[in-house]
Symmetry: C2
Subunit: 151 residues, 2 copies
Amino acid sequence: MPYNYNNMFSKSCEYGLRAIIYIAQQTAQDNKVSLTTISDAIDSPQAFTAKVLQQLTRNEIVKSIKGPYGGFVIEHEKMDVVKLSDVVAILDGDSIYTGCGLGLKKCNENSPCPLHFKFIEIRNQLKKMLETTTLAMVVKDMDTETFFLKR
Amino acid sequence: MPYNYNNMFSKSCEYGLRAIIYIAQQTAQDNKVSLTTISDAIDSPQAFTAKVLQQLTRNEIVKSIKGPYGGFVIEHEKMDVVKLSDVVAILDGDSIYTGCGLGLKKCNENSPCPLHFKFIEIRNQLKKMLETTTLAMVVKDMDTETFFLKR
DNA sequence: TTTATAACGGATAAGTTTGTCTGTTATTAA
DNA sequence: TTAATAACAGACAAACTTATCCGTTATAAA
């Protein structure tokens, strides 16, 4: 098994999060951004990123505008409403922060796997972080720290 | 994208962890267990589990014994030495608890991605948990709580 | 020494994710 | 109304993970 490394999120989700953060940041400055601009800014495969953005569009996380001068924006009222967990749930599902670490479907508080109480803390912390972080919060943070979305 | 759900670990790693925990528990009772017994106990595809166990054997996490009355055991002195992180590192690599949440290779303390300081806490906690939990500890816990490694 | 057993190793197949290509649809400006 | 632009949609392809199959090797017991 040659290529075995496993990230927290799938590529779809990584690109989706990076894209949404970039769009949010641009939206906050009243810029509308095209797919080309986005995939260039976050260094992701363009056509694949298009698919990911389509999903986020269908789920009304972003708004897409067709035609010349079109692109993607996030409606202002969404900035405080959309959480990282919304994006992750759409693209990867929620099993990363709700499922059992050993992949056991029936594992729970009452009949726990041997690692249940080791994992529950971490999963809950991840869950809490994703569910309490809005796009507005991420964008606000980006004012202060060095901005970085490539490679 | 129809089948997108993402667990913390790959299937290889899930099976590997379940297998090693089962073997450790049996070893603690001086039982040697065969592949058939293992894959039956942890409800995993037998041939695939064999491959995973081969990797763990090559990396000297478990000891395999060929021939009749053969099987897998964990040498007693290993029980306090082998950590969950060792198994995970072999089967999935360590990027789940060392890599950037957005998949950015150059992301670090000095040039952080917008979510770096949100993720670092969680990753460190996961890292710490995996690196400080030995097989002996897991087996010991299993005395008290309900034992559960299937489905 | 033979036979049965159980792990090992390589090849192959099936399933899923990741990525590309090509044409279509909507919309803006000229 | 036409031409250009940019998102959309579906098909297709490549890469990787998951899973199976089958013959080989080591070893214990008869």
